[in-house]
Symmetry: C2
Subunit: 586 residues, 2 copies
């Protein structure tokens, strides 16, 4: 439970009550009574949202409704006890449910017992992976996924989910498919194919949820807005019951939900199965963590300190292991539910513990009332939730800021839609690394001149600066590696050829954060080439760590009359009066 | 033929002789007669080396000896006519032969007709790939392979080849295996298993080659040293003939080599086969090009201009297509033969044309004398050649310069030995990218102070500098991305916490070559956090391209009282007297 727990408990340790306090997590030890009403209310509101949402996401994952309900009990409680974000709401989320369906679809029939068993194994693998990464302090891996790729991936997954939910929304049985073309091909092509009662229920529920979300309410009633999905689904269920729609009009309903708390379940221990599920487990584990961590970061108040990635991984790992052993499926921290949790007044993990407790009571007592919830209403809940994830604003912002990043977002978006969630994410990841390397391969190089009246040197193309004909000062805006040393060499030779009067080349290394061993060999060859052509090469503003390496490699001796100056200004003052080829006085 | 060919030919175009001259490649048009003796001698010496070497490398690739001889005719001539390096010697090389054996071993039995047909298809694919990359101007891809990875890969392949040639050297039949453990397991475990005559021939030839290499000769006879391998193999063959060793002592010999020039051969056009060979073709095409290009770069005289990667790819592609249609196997530019070529006096592609011509004469007339060359002697030729490629010097240099790069070299070396050539190379490539990202993820950050008497600011830990308590100046030595923005944020918060008297944070961006969109969002959050804690954030030395983007994104407005200064000095002069939170006067 992280740093500080148990340590420095001081006086508390002496009395029995103090010893009990020592066992409590820090947030509970320091709990302020004033926070209680907000935490209780938020816990109740989130549970009210979780009942329809968790069944809907189980449906999206291809699992029976109780799997979603179970995923909202033990995993939620485990994250609340272990996580580093006090108000992050963990549980079944749309994106992970979609990935579960994509992973298990090829291995078993959705809804079958085999399928449910595979979901447990998948949760086990995701949990083990996340816990292992957390223990190995590899949480930083999540940073490989750039903002643009996460945004594109999330929007793509949201669109995929939305299109996939159109059939259930219209009262039809859901059809498989984890790519956009398949899903579009499965849509009904005429009104005749759509059952009127089911479609009416679904569309009405969707409109009701969207309207309730936007209803202008006086501030003191605003919290009630969060109950919109529960109310809408409740009304739809009431309509089924009153009109006997599942009987007369054959509206598809959730069906019997077993009553009682989840039983302990055992994932399958089968090496072949583990190998088949390893790749999706890695993708779900990392993408789920990335989504959850991004949310936790966004939540962390300005002054409250940041979530710690390794601790978050451990807590999510525990939540997924909890899912594996309680009949659920992979979970993570979700965007919308967390917003609801905070909006309803949560300030501590107690809110999530309350949610988990209420969900446990629900599966114990409410299941008879859940059997006749229409599936179309659950599809409406999913659709209303994922439509908010279509993130055109980020795309517009990236497009204005950096076209290449906007292209990355588009690639991840299109990749998810056309290649499926796993390959789409991997394509985005590969393109991020590729862009990184491509940019490093063609660095910005500026010819420098002195800003009049200062000792500061800037790009001649952008600033009104003073240059000296005898000295060519070049600033290389990249670390030197085999990727770009050839490019740099060509650029230097072009600049030198354009200035026959230049006698000295000054490489300003203020932006050179490292020089690869192979690039150093090439740099030495360049120095020798220029020497043969009558030019002396000097360096300036070499950073400490780079200078250390150059010294160890004996590079200064190979400058053949050239020097390494502390500052560009010092170099320019010395070089303006020094003919090339002569040793310099310091 | 590249740029300049045909263009600007001036007067030459008017007479018939001039028109002929226009068709000639530039080196031939400008040929100086004084270069002729050197080119002729070098061509002859390389041919003398090629006869045993090419048969030996064919043996290493699992092919009949004539495949090696053929690989030394048309491919050599095609590169000479098209390549951009005048003295690079192309043909069969040890590393590529090893990769051919590793690629084809699982698909057919070495020595069979199917195997030889597969080698042609592989050469075709390698040629097509290289030509396509050259036409698409993607030669820069080769820079993905860092110096360290190429050095480690070459050393690993050399050791793999050396161990694999121990059986043939001892007079035994070669055994399969493309990894070190397999090869070691195949070695004889007692003297009883080793045929005395074969082993004696092999070991004597090896010693003879190594001694002839090192023999102190007067300078005017030094060129004869190059004929050592031919002489040693010749003597070994003479021993076989005189002692009838292939009959009496069952010494393994090359066997019948068909006489006459290579016939036109047609690679197999079979989609399934192409798919199976696609991965090795990519690896051989890129690794072969990397080896060849590295050699061409090293060759290019200090002032003579560099080889152009795209043109080199085209020329190597043509050479491999030539190999595919003339009964050979994949070729590339080799280290040792090129050194021999230059050392023997070559200055133009004419030397390679002479070699190719002499090899053509050899297959026409010399084949009867080649049948009784002992295989053990050819193994000695290979061993002597590859021992030079074990590059401990580069490892020591990298170890002194940068442990991480030395580790990369070791990883590529060990990867080739334990995983085989393809996977070893890919592991090295992945580790290079990983190291790159890992370093970008934890940038060097320096607290700056002013160097007394200047306007220059440096790391307080390395230089005696002056600081101001009210201003914390931090220089970040890396572009900002999702990889490192969290790291930077933590570091800034630590530095700020350690200086309660600081009112201004100045981020010196001289080494920030780009700011990713997602990182900018995080940076803005950091600015707001610091603002809430009573600190104002400023930037200095922002590069032009970065400034443009920040302006477009409206970042300066979000500095909330902070400013972007041209230079660190300007910023420090203003900030020392400015209380935080007040708007600054420019």
């Amino acid at each position: 439970m992280g740093e500080g727990r148990g340590a420095g408990a001081g006086d508390h340790g002496r009395s029995p009550a103090g010893r009990l306090r020592r066992l409590a997590p820090p947030w509970l030890r320091d709990y302020r009574r004033a926070a209680l009403p907000g935490d209780l209310a938020a816990g109740a509101v989130v549970a009210a949202l979780l009942i329809p949402q968790s069944m809907a996401y189980a449906q999206l994952a291809g699992l029976p409704p109780q799997a979603g309900l179970y995923a909202s009990i033990l995993p939620v409680a485990l994250y609340a006890l272990l996580g580093s974000s006090p108000t992050l709401a963990v549980g079944p989320v749309a994106m992970v449910s979609l990935m579960v369906a994509a992973a298990l679809g090829p291995l078993a029939a959705a809804g079958s017992a085999d399928y449910a068993a595979l979901a447990l194994t998948l949760a086990l693998l995701v949990g083990l992976l996340q816990a292992a990464l957390g223990l190995l302090r590899l949480g930083g891996l999540v940073h490989l996924l750039s903002h643009a790729v996460i945004a594109g991936f999330t929007s793509g997954a949201a669109l995929l989910i939305a299109v996939g939910q159109l059939r259930p929304l219209l009262g039809l049985k859901g059809a498989g498919g984890d790519r956009l073309p398949q899903l579009l091909a499965g849509l009904p092509t005429g009104f005749g194919q759509v059952p009127a009662a089911g479609a009416a229920l679904g569309l009405t529920t969707l409109v009701a949820i969207l309207v309730l979300e936007r209803l202008p309410l006086p501030p003191r009633l605003a919290a009630w807005r969060k109950l919109g999905p529960l109310a809408a689904v409740g009304l739809a269920t009431l309509a089924v019951v009153l009109g006997d729609l599942d009987g007369v009009a054959r509206v598809l309903v959730v069906g019997t939900v077993p009553a009682g708390l989840p039983k302990v379940t055992w994932p399958t221990w089968d090496a072949g199965l583990w190998r088949a599920l390893a790749a999706p487990a890695v993708v779900i584990g990392l993408a789920g963590f990335a989504e959850s961590y991004a949310m936790a970061q966004a939540l962390a108040g300005r002054s409250r300190g940041r979530p710690r990635p390794d601790r978050e991984l451990l807590a999510l790992g525990a939540a997924n292991l909890g899912a594996a052993f309680s009949g659920a499926f992979p979970v993570t921290g979700g965007f919308s539910r967390t917003m609801v949790n905070q909006g309803a007044g949560a300030t501590s993990p107690l809110a999530s513990l309350v949610s988990a407790g209420l969900m446990a009571l629900s599966v114990a007592w409410l299941t008879p009332y859940l059997a006749r919830v229409p599936q179309a209403a659950l599809a409406a809940v999913i659709l209303a939730a994922v439509l908010r994830l279509l993130d055109a604003a980020t795309f517009r912002r990236l497009w204005a800021y950096d076209r290449a990043e906007a292209a990355l977002m588009l690639l991840a978006f299109g990749g998810v839609l056309l290649l499926g969630v796993e390959r789409g994410l991997l394509a985005g990841l590969a393109a991020t690394v590729g862009l990184h390397l491509w940019r490093a391969a063609q660095p910005h190089v500026a010819v420098l001149g002195r800003v009049p009246g200062t000792e500061h040197y800037r790009n001649v193309l952008r600033h009104r600066v003073l240059t000296q004909p005898a000295v060519l000062a070049l600033r290389v805006d990249e670390s030197l590696s085999s990727l770009n040393i050839g490019f740099l060499r060509d650029r230097v030779q072009r600049e030198v050829a354009a200035r026959p009067e230049a006698r000295h080349l000054l490489l300003v290394c203020s932006a050179v954060n490292g020089i690869e061993g192979g690039a150093l060999v090439e740099l030495e060859a360049l120095v020798a080439d220029l020497r043969a052509a009558g030019m002396t090469t000097h360096l300036a503003e070499v950073k400490g760590p780079v200078q250390d390496r150059l010294d160890r490699a004996g590079f200064p001796g190979r400058l053949a009359g050239g020097r390494i100056f502390l500052s560009t200004h010092e170099a320019m003052r010395h070089l303006e009066s020094t003919p090339a080829g002569l040793p310099l006085t310091a």
